[in-house]
Assembly symmetry: C3
């Protein structure tokens, strides 16, 4: 007989407290200038390392990862636009969004018309600075608010970007928590954005909390992996370096834009049938709060890579307001005011619910499948008949009826239109008698 361990996750902090702790971490990481490479990103990983023993990997510039090569490492010390009289108009010190990521070093006087070609602003939101990147194109640029841009009236300006693009490394962190089974749940979060809170300090902070919770359990049925890496090149690099163990991944989520006031949104996997879809859709439908599901599309975050046809992992993305769907997206308005502890806590709660089902879900076999077994003689039925049935007994009848080797507890919960937790309680009671056995 197989032995099934029922996991009841122990939390050192309440969900609310975990929201607060996440928010504090966001505040601490906010000032750092992250990009797909560079010191700000490495510093971020080191701060996460205070929480658990993160495996920080370095991959050298030029290394081939599938169709890509690791780019040069970008670092920046200072950058500004100043008038010829020496007055700084735009200064990287005030916001690391001011410089287009991966800008080449430049230090020259340019006519305004020339400068304009290197400027990015948002006329509809005249106070906001946009976030722009130019990873694989040799160029430079400044981002500034439309109001700042309007003040540029001189014929010439001096532009200075004291950056360098040199052979170096790309860094990512991998944290693995082994369980009884090699079946693995992957949580991936991108770490390449500078001072933007929802996208994606929220994901970094929540993943950190989840990893701490899981690492503190005395035993787990399943294994968990957290990957903190730059978007696109980072996930592609991780996939390239972990090709041999991808087959262990049974479910997983790309965790991003997870701290704003919008409802939880689940972006489904590319395949019609996907275990992660089953898990997340049950959690969202059961928790009673508004939520959305959106179909897969090959744009967004790193689900693009996990769902590429040659990789095709059972991974979706659970977020709040998706990329591009809120006005502050990729602007300086995605700041410490946009994310709040209560929304971070709500996202944490949903992820923990998903993990709980992943931990406990299994297919059992009814050991007395010919007619109903006599629950009464096992103390599992009511004493007096004639009234309508209690919900807890109905849950047991569902588990017995569908434990035919073809339905997991999660599928039984869906069919019975009950919460997984109700079905789990029923299964635990039945399993404690002789009536259920785990399938192999």
């Amino acid at each position: 007989m197989n032995n099934h361990h029922w996991t009841h996750l122990k939390l050192d902090h309440s969900i609310e407290e975990m929201g607060e702790i996440s928010y504090s971490l966001i505040e601490r990481l906010y000032p750092l200038c992250r990009s797909i490479t560079g010191e700000g990103t490495l510093e971020t990983l080191k701060i996460l390392n205070e929480n658990f023993d993160l495996n920080i990997k370095c991959v050298a510039t030029g290394t081939q990862v599938f169709d890509w090569n690791i780019p040069k490492e970008w670092n920046i010390r200072e950058a500004y636009i100043e008038s010829l009289s020496g007055k700084k108009i735009i200064d990287f010190k005030h916001s690391n969004l001011h410089v287009v990521s991966y800008s080449y070093p430049v230090d020259k006087v340019v006519p305004l018309a020339e400068l304009e070609k290197h400027l990015h602003s948002i006329p509809e939101h005249p106070d906001w600075i946009p976030y722009r990147t130019a990873y694989y194109n040799e160029t430079w640029g400044f981002c500034l608010s439309e109001k700042q841009r309007q003040t540029l009236q001189d014929e010439h300006y001096r532009v200075c970007i004291d950056s360098d693009l040199k052979d170096g490394h790309l860094h990512y962190g991998d944290y693995f928590i082994p369980g009884e089974s090699r079946d693995e749940f992957l949580i991936f979060t991108h770490i390449c954005h500078p001072s933007l809170c929802n996208d994606n300090l929220s994901g970094i902070a929540i993943a950190t909390q989840l990893a701490k919770v899981l690492s503190s359990q005395t035993s787990l049925n399943k294994s968990y992996r957290f990957v903190f890496a730059p978007a696109t090149i980072g996930s592609i690099t991780w996939l390239h370096q972990n090709q041999d163990s991808l087959h262990n991944i049974r479910a997983g989520l790309v965790l991003a834009v997870a701290g704003d006031a919008g409802p939880l949104t689940y972006k489904k996997n590319r395949n019609k049938e996907c275990y992660t879809d089953q898990l997340v859709e049950h959690v969202l439908a059961a928790n009673g709060r508004p939520y959305k599901t959106v179909a897969f599309s090959p744009y967004g975050y790193d689900e693009r890579q996990f769902c590429s046809p040659g990789i095709n992992l059972p991974i979706g993305s659970l977020m709040r307001t998706p990329n591009g769907c809120y006005p502050e997206y990729h602007t300086s308005a995605d700041n410490l005011g946009l994310v709040q502890p209560e929304y971070l806590a709500d996202t944490i709660s949903a992820y923990l619910d998903v993990i709980n089902i992943f931990e406990n879900n299994a297919i059992f076999l009814n050991q007395s499948p010919f007619g109903e077994p006599q629950l009464g003689k096992r103390g599992l039925y009511r004493k007096t008949g004639g009234e309508n049935i209690e919900r807890s007994i109905l849950a047991k009848l569902w588990v017995l009826n569908l434990s035919d080797g073809e339905h997991s507890l999660l599928e039984i919960a869906e069919r019975a239109n009950m919460r997984f937790s109700e079905i789990q309680v029923a299964a635990e009671e039945l399993y404690s008698t002789d009536l259920l056995e785990l399938t192999t």
Copy 2:
């Protein structure tokens, strides 16, 4: 070439008369005190035996049937609650619902507080006596109306239940009507409820009428079986004793709560694909009256047993208002006023429609499948072309088009959005020429 017999059921009584006859049988059976065992139940089977040669089986106390054992036989002679001054407050003579089924014998004076623990009433319906059972628990109890309960003001009462629980037998009746084929339609109805009309004298009375109709046919394509047995332990016992022939069952219905004013309701099988579902849903959709379908759930009547995972028969339940869905359910208000001949007749009509399709449905092969066959030269087409087609010709075209070996006549009727009877007429005409042959 196979020979196909088209069945046209002959009725000795009109549907309306069959409703009246059913109601008379209900009136006759109403006073008997039935339970899962005992004389009232056996007496009920003997009365049914007047209609046809019912095979009444006895199974001894203690016999193991799957996970269960046949319980002791329960019989009761009298029961009452009386005041110490000798006044009978509650008397089993007035209603056999007054005693909790399977109550142990008792004869003693008890304080009111003690008595209260053994009383069942329904505050929301102060005039109704509930129906309660305690089959597998050693206890006793009385059911009474809330109004009666309020009159109990003395400090002590005498309670007397003159029952016995002894080794004896469980009884059920099995009536088999063989047809050309061993393919079998099962109708199961429970017989264990005392003076309750809709649940389930209605089922007993309708099954009796259907069995009489089928037994009076000169020939039948298919076989039919009627089982009259106590709920749960009765169906489990029958399943246990008939394991070797269950594979003949192609369709079947649990017949209960079939005489009230509610619309016909079909509770589907546990499996996604089920022939009984096909049959019943076609009949209900075609008859033009309101109806409901409800998903399978592992609670209700004996479909719980027929649809247990180890048995998994293609059986549903065709009823009127389901168990627990009408206020009079399991109370003394489920009486001779709740069921009416016209509703019994309506249920009979639907069952006969289902049986008619089961009798005549088959898969045929179009013998001229390359283009349309020339119906005109066989006298099966109109003489002048140009106007829109007649419905009877369209039915023939549907039968020819879909008789490709993959569609039964019932499936053709569904696809054509026509009644089975229209498709049957077309098939009969085509079969009488060389154009259709029965698949083997």
Copy 3:
């Protein structure tokens, strides 16, 4: 590596002009008296032959074609009803609808009561002459307007039909345009109706235009076949004579009732999955104009034959207002006013869209399926990141993601909710790099 040719159809005339040219052909063919055999039908084929080298086939009376035999050839010179005083009341010269098709020769004086049995009119539309046929029944008859019928007050009339029914031939035309692949698209249109414009001179005229367009292309990926034949007996004859090559047909349409003001209507194939359904439904949904789809039924035009169970070809019917669904159907009011160049042009446009997809659709394989390929280094991506993605890049991401060997470009377009043309452009760009290869 396979070589994929992208077809961009070249048109000698605009779609509008093609509508006008079609209308002119209808005007020219309108006066001819067509039937399932006879000189008017052959003359029609000869006129079509002016446009391309039509293969006109003769099949002799009596030849067996599946369940049918080619009937005698029917020709008619004149026909009238005249008063005994010699006044012509009804004259075939005025409308070839006046005579029931396939009427036997007759020349006699008959009492009015006898004549009435041979008359057809439409009381609801007192000015319209109905169209009636009696192909396989030895009879004669006249069709006339209800108003004309009311003027018949004499006791006797002379009826004369100078027709003959003799051994002869059935004629049909077959025009095949070979492409790179033997995969064939079949367009069938019936040619047996006399002076009726929508049903089906519209189909004849549109098929002629489409055949001219396809025959003028310098290269085609796929092959195309146009069949102009009488309804029912003609399609059955064609199917009988081409049994050996039917397996090349990958898609096809019965083209009829294609010039009226109603919305485009697609009648689906009998099978749940059908490539023609995919093609047409995409075109209709994408073109932004109202349209209808209707389920298959075994009545209508020659899809009855193509979808018979032994033939079962992937063919549907794309028309405007279906047979029997407009009041002028099969009456003299289906005339040159009912069809208009603009509606003919609209139908042509939809057919060309279908053909374009049939030409270009294929399944490709992403040659860099592990993660996203780096589009930027191939000049296929934008230079600056951070803003939402352009639709043209999104189309490329869809093609890459779903080019896993299981999705055709058409299926990708459906899944991406984009037009086929957008997906085709993306695929063309990707194919021009090393990123896509055609599956074999």
